[in-house]
Symmetry: C2
DNA sequence: CTGAAAGCGCTTACAG
DNA sequence: CTGAAAGCGCTTACAG
């Protein structure tokens, strides 16, 4: 007899109102503004609600409140590839910790049937963190149409597009300089994959880093086009790194140093080299980018550029919340630069 | 003049209807069931919608459809600690890849103001994956009240609670046996933290593994209470492992082998030992559990139990979707066991 | 093919 | 303190 109706129909605020003898208004108040009703009413309503196992429908509640209570993070690639880069996991941690702080959930938004735009169109979120978004991408317009605040991490700082970055050009220049100062001239650069987004725009972070490498080379009267320099591309994962490593092993003249734009690639590469019997850094030197925790775990530990993924995520998300609460002017240009630093470990040999 | 109203008010289906001259019904059909209206109507409506930058409000749409289009994953701890265990990241990858396949987003649900129950109450999701949930936990009732399908990974298989597990007891017994067969008798076990959830129920996975260790010990006429066995607890992170390592270094009589219930703990522990100048496995042997990719990266590579985190996530999520679509009977008992295997590498020395 | 209208389950001015 | 009623912006039988 208890489940004569709970069996089929969801119980709503109406049921609680009817059974308790109070109005829907009072029931709503009992949950959301307890002090606005008498203790007697409140107690009865709560009791009835508990007896019936009533839980306010989040769908209706959110709709009424016009809030999703969630922040989305727009993944540039499929979820698998995104999360197989520990650096991305680090960013997600940062984003998540701020969401948690404000009682929000974190929604991971993968492309919907290959379409990032469609995913954004339907995503149930109040704000968006994007990874590596460029101003020319179509999806930017969709986000703006939706009128939800967004901040992009590792994108190109441009008007109306709040951003969090490190100084990628300087960082890349610094690490290349370190390699050159160690005497290396035969160098292979393992770059990131072309942005295969809906527009085919290039990734500005990759671009800036390339420029930085080039600037350092210039100081040695070299450039990216020099015959001593080889440029490859790899997916951001261990496997991507292994494939790059295999490709390097097949090169006619082996480089003395390999510069990777991502630590996870460097680690994969390093594993491939070691599997082939090479000793690092004696036979070949390696440097990376990111300073993921794994870089300190491997042997030899990786010389790299430290950039704070968690911090990027946190700052981006705090900014999104400020935008949501209207605490900052969203017409203003918010371009936050976080510090990087060079971490010297054992993977780079001085010739 | 274009923004005379778009400035203040969101544009809705009503605006499109008014301006296009068609009804709300037709506008809705234009987006959701294009073939139900004439090409002429469809084209005009789409055009007007595009001109005005109309995007259907996800809040309203979801409410009408009674679907969130998202699957939640209930994090047992704060987001930071959860994601700093690569094994959890692996599970999330698995869950995410299935969500993506069906066009759903993945919502990470951290405790809301410390309360997991409140988080579940308000979470905007159509189904739930839980990590390490026990039948006696309060939150189970909340999930049931919500009447949303859920599957628990690494929880205790019980009635009405679909589950994905490995055979933890056997796995633990196998790895302990390996250690004992290698001649070790002075052993420290680093266990997982007590479930500090709202009820203080113990974690059944930890329990099963302990039982497994004990069974193997029994075959050597020992048990968990033997004087040669020490049991510690550590947080599931590198740092947790380092702390455990430091504690072990301070023990009066140093063990010859350390058995960790999690690879990330084993790795942290190993780092601490190495920092103290110990050679592994010569001075001390290590084994772990999970077989995260990092375990193959460290030197010496870790001997451990391989369990497929991604696969657990995928299977759990496929089951949730089957439950959502009503393809399987949710009264039936769904208890899936996935295989594990022992991975022998270089961190265990035969005495 | 098209549209008027009910309905999804809440919240919240507003009046009493 | 309490309640009637409007409103949030869609979807979808139903009738024409």
């Amino acid at each position: 007899m208890d489940d004569k109706k709970s069996k089929n129909k969801r119980i709503t605020i109406n049921d609680i109102a009817r059974i308790s003898g109070y109005s829907k208004t009072s029931v709503s108040f009992a949950f959301n503004e307890p002090k606005r009703i008498s203790e007697k009413a409140r107690n009865l309503i709560i009791k009835v609600a508990e007896d019936l196992g009533y839980i306010p429908d989040p769908l209706a509640r959110n709709f009424s409140l016009r809030k999703h209570h969630s922040i989305g993070i727009l993944l540039p690639q499929l979820i698998n590839s995104a999360l197989s880069n520990p650096f991305v996991a680090q960013v997600i941690q940062g984003v998540g910790s701020v969401c948690q702080k404000y009682g929000y959930t974190l929604t991971l938004i993968p492309p919907l049937n290959e379409s990032v735009s469609d995913a954004v169109r339907t995503a149930a979120v109040d704000g968006l963190i994007t990874l590596g978004m460029e101003a020319e991408m179509k999806v930017v317009n969709v986000i703006r149409q939706r009128k939800i605040p967004y901040v992009t991490i590792d994108g190109s700082p441009s008007a109306n597009m709040p951003s969090i970055n490190i100084r990628d050009r300087e960082a890349a220049k610094d690490i290349m300089k370190l390699v050159l100062d160690a005497g290396h001239r035969q160098i292979t650069i393992v770059s990131l994959p072309e942005g295969d987004d809906e527009l085919g725009v290039h990734d500005s972070v990759t671009w800036f880093r390339m420029e930085g490498y080039n600037e350092a080379l210039a100081e040695c009267s070299m450039c990216l086009e020099s015959t001593e320099i080889t440029i490859l591309t790899a997916e951001c994962s261990i496997d991507g790194g292994k494939k790059a490593g295999a490709a390097i092993l097949k090169e006619f003249s082996r480089p003395t140093a390999v510069i990777c734009m991502s630590d996870i690639i460097a680690i994969g590469c390093q594993q491939e080299f070691q599997a082939a019997g090479l000793i690092i850094p004696n036979d070949i030197s390696m440097v990376g980018f990111d300073n993921i925790i794994e870089s300190a775990m491997v042997t030899p530990a990786l010389t790299t550029v430290d950039q704070p993924g968690g911090e990027k995520g946190r700052q981006a998300t705090e900014l999104v919340f400020q935008l949501i609460r209207g605490e900052v002017d969203d017409a203003a240009h918010h371009h936050i630069i976080v510090p990087y630093r060079i971490i010297q470990r054992q993977s780079l040999k001085t010739l």
